[in-house]
């Protein structure tokens, strides 16, 4: 099989097991104290700045970053253990998730020293949140067709006009890394002329309009830029290098445990039910789902290990996300076929609640971060077909 898809097995990490145990203890105490309640898909919907700050105090944000920016210089494997424990427990991690996973590493690679000094320590503290400003009303899968435009004014500042959509948690966040057109589009080279700007979301001219998802929840937004003046030194990386920077981000965005554990709290609840009933049909389904979780963990761990080695495994990351998000959705159907439970958001039965939450969030899993059709195109390229 093509080497661009296979990665070496992840080494075992004692340090990761150590931090895993600490996170479990912390989560058990927080659950017991009632500071949070388990939900499905909390990395989209569980915004809780207090909780994020606590994680910052424990040293569980910016874990792999250099100490000079407040980071903890730990391995990707240790970070992996922390993130998957939080997701498995359905903890409220949405506030800081994007900043910790993606924007921080992005700043480390492309940011200026000033940008890093100013922002990274605040992310590490769990006090600074980011959004991904890529999609637009007319540009989804075909991201190269974006129209949001930034032009230099006489002072060397950027003037931004346009609109981003589906911007998760913009209403709670401090900054966006926004993909903009800094030169007119060129049909001969569709990926040229784009740049990333680091934009303070409190700047004048920015309007954030809520877009509600199926269950009425407000998680994503339309962000409109109307002559927004962004200081010239807030360019991220190189002018014109935006496409390259965006695609490099994707190994971080696509490979983590959030790409198969969004509905894990439902699996856990189902596990509790099966432990009670001992029903053989349910046991078989739980076994099948567990085997899929175990395989996805191994796949995702291999990517964490590759990131530790300094690689950017974009193609395997696309593959994990395709298989993982398919699983997140399958979980719902597999479970509902063997339990006699009516999904309901306000049921006293936690299984009925988890089923309801998972069902109403399901369409998002295989869309966000690149649709599965697009991901399979990337995998096909890895197979040498394109």
């Amino acid at each position: 099989m093509s080497n661009s898809l296979t990665l070496a097995p992840a080494p075992r990490s004692e340090a990761a097991e150590q931090v895993r145990a600490e996170v479990r203890e912390f989560l058990a105490a927080e659950l017991a104290a009632g500071t949070f309640r388990t939900h499905v898909d909390t990395w989209l919907s569980g915004v809780d700045p207090e909780f994020s700050k606590k994680l910052g105090e424990r040293g569980w944000l910016g874990m792999t970053w250099p100490k000079k920016y407040g980071g903890h210089e730990r391995s990707a494997m240790e970070r992996y253990a922390v993130t998957e424990e939080l997701l498995a427990a359905g903890a409220p991690v949405a506030a800081h998730w994007i900043a910790d996973r993606q924007s921080g590493p992005n700043l480390l690679t492309y940011g200026t020293e000033k940008q890093r000094q100013e922002i990274l320590p605040r992310i590490v503290a769990g006090e600074c949140y980011f959004v991904i400003g890529m999609s637009e009303p007319d540009s989804g899968s075909d991201l190269a067709s974006i129209r949001t435009k930034a032009t230099r004014n006489g002072d060397g500042d950027w003037v931004v006009n346009g609109a981003k959509v589906w911007t998760s948690n913009a209403h709670h966040s401090h900054y966006g890394i926004v993909l903009v057109r800094t030169s007119p589009s060129d049909s001969a080279n569709r990926h040229a002329g784009m740049s990333q700007l680091l934009i303070d979301l409190s700047l004048p001219g920015i309007t954030i309009n809520p877009i509600r998802i199926l269950d009425g929840g407000h998680h994503f937004n339309e962000v409109v830029f109307d002559d927004v003046v962004v200081p010239g030194d807030m360019l991220l990386g190189e002018e014109g290098n935006g496409w390259h920077q965006v695609t490099a981000e994707l190994a971080f965005e696509r490979s983590g445990p959030e790409r198969f554990l969004s509905t894990y709290p439902l699996v856990a609840e189902f596990g509790r039910r099966v432990a009670e009933t001992g029903d053989p049909a349910q046991l078989a389904v739980l076994g099948r789902l567990s085997a899929r979780v175990l395989a996805l963990r191994q796949m995702s761990l291999r990517i964490a290990a590759a990131l530790d080695r300094g690689e950017l495994p974009n193609i395997p990351a696309a593959l994990v996300k395709d298989v993982g998000t398919t699983f997140e959705a399958d979980v719902i159907e597999e479970i509902r076929k063997v339990v006699d439970v009516t999904p309901s958001l306000d049921s006293p039965d936690p299984l009925a609640r988890a089923l309801a939450e998972a069902q109403l969030h399901q369409p998002g899993f295989t869309l966000r971060g690149g649709t599965n059709e697009i991901l399979r195109g990337i995998v096909a390229r890895g197979l040498g077909l394109r």
């Binding site: 296979t6 432990a275 009670e276 076994g287 395989a295 796949m299 291999r302 096909a380 077909l385």
Partner: protein, 357 residues
């Protein structure tokens, strides 16, 4: 730099090169010539300690051999010998038959075992009953069976039975590999008593051996299919340029990668001498689930030519369809997996999952 393992794989590939897979029939139940060539090269004893008469080497080498042979649809009981029967005998301190003769493995749940006290010490038994689904029945010269312990004792007996003169019924899996039944009538055998946990480990090794074969065959089927999609032209371009076909191949790749990740993890756990029951169960279940997607799509992409006996694809797809139900079905192992994961109670599922690997 070539590692030892690469060399082992190279050697197996060279030997395989002159043994094209053939259609198995009642008269041609295995590739005896291939077995002899492998045995002469010492490859049928790899991973088994030299003190016990094996060729030495690591478990990983044995796995690499099994994978290469599985991908080549080789009709020889090497997986059974190197990954199940041999290691089980070694672990039970029983004497290994010469690795040059083929030893297979079977679960003998309905065989009754009686201890024999003939003054030659413990470890002698007589076995009576039928042993179904014996892989390579009629080809292998001995079979290691796992049977219930004699009445009054807990656990199981692992016994080495010489079957060279015993007739086996004709039965074959979907790929034509022999899976006959042996009838034992007061057959004497050397054996050892295993605890229930040890017996579970042996069963898990058997499942893992099939999972390793499945993983290798799945990878090979994907590679063949990708290659075919690049070669076959319709509407003026290679099939692989059509997006619908790319989607199917990418889906296959996802399944294959998941299986490999899990069988690798399970064999590593085995290498570290950890309890491998849950890891093996997971590998077997996941591999079985992947077969549905990979075999179906491989045939779809190959079109009518892949549906013929002329084309090589069936050598592996038929084995995939068989192996997934052997050594314990997905249903059996998924229940073992779930029960094991819930052993620490209703809240123990996640911690158990992270312990398995």
């Amino acid at each position: 730099m070539a590692t030892d393992q690469d060399l082992v794989v190279e050697t197996v590939r060279d030997i395989l090169g002159s043994h094209e897979p053939f259609v198995l029939t009642a008269d041609r139940r295995w590739d005896e010539g291939l077995w002899t060539a492998l045995a002469e090269a010492g490859l049928t004893g790899v991973g088994l300690p030299e003190e016990a008469g094996g060729s030495g080497g690591e478990l990983a080498d044995a796995v690499a051999i099994v994978r290469t042979l599985a991908a080549g649809a080789a009709a020889v009981p090497v997986a059974e010998q190197l990954l199940v029967a041999g290691p089980a005998l070694v672990a039970a301190d029983l004497e290994l038959p010469s690795p040059e003769q083929a030893t297979t493995f079977a679960i003998a749940d309905s065989v009754t075992v009686h201890p024999v006290d003939d003054g030659d010490g413990p470890g002698r038994f007589t076995l009576s009953g039928t042993v179904p689904d014996v892989p390579w029945a009629g080809a292998a010269s001995s079979v290691v069976v796992l049977a219930p312990a004699p009445a009054g004792l807990e656990g199981s007996v692992l016994a080495l039975v010489d079957v060279s003169s015993l007739p086996a019924t004709d039965a074959f899996n979907l790929a034509g590999e022999p899976r006959g039944t042996l009838v034992l009538d007061q057959v004497g055998a050397i054996g050892a008593l295993l605890t229930p946990a040890q017996a579970d480990e042996v069963r898990a090794r058997y499942a893992l051996a099939r999972a390793v074969q499945l993983a290798a065959a799945l990878e090979q089927v994907l590679a063949w299919t990708v290659q075919y999609a690049g070669e076959r032209h319709q509407f003026g371009r290679p099939l692989g340029k059509f997006q619908a076909i790319q989607m199917e191949l990418a889906e296959m790749a996802g399944e294959v990668t998941a299986v490999t990740a899990l069988t690798d993890a399970a064999t590593q756990a085995l290498d570290r001498a950890e309890n491998v029951v849950l890891a093996a169960a997971a590998a077997k279940v996941r591999a079985g689930a992947a077969v549905e997607v990979v075999a179906r799509l491989a045939h779809q992409v190959h079109g009518a030519i892949g549906f013929t006996q002329e084309h090589k694809l069936h050598h592996l797809t038929r084995r995939l369809w068989s192996w997934r139900d052997e050594a314990g079905s997905e249903l059996v192992w998924s229940r073992v997996l779930a029960s094991g994961l819930l052993a620490d109670g209703p809240d123990g599922l996640w911690p158990a999952l992270t312990r398995v690997g």
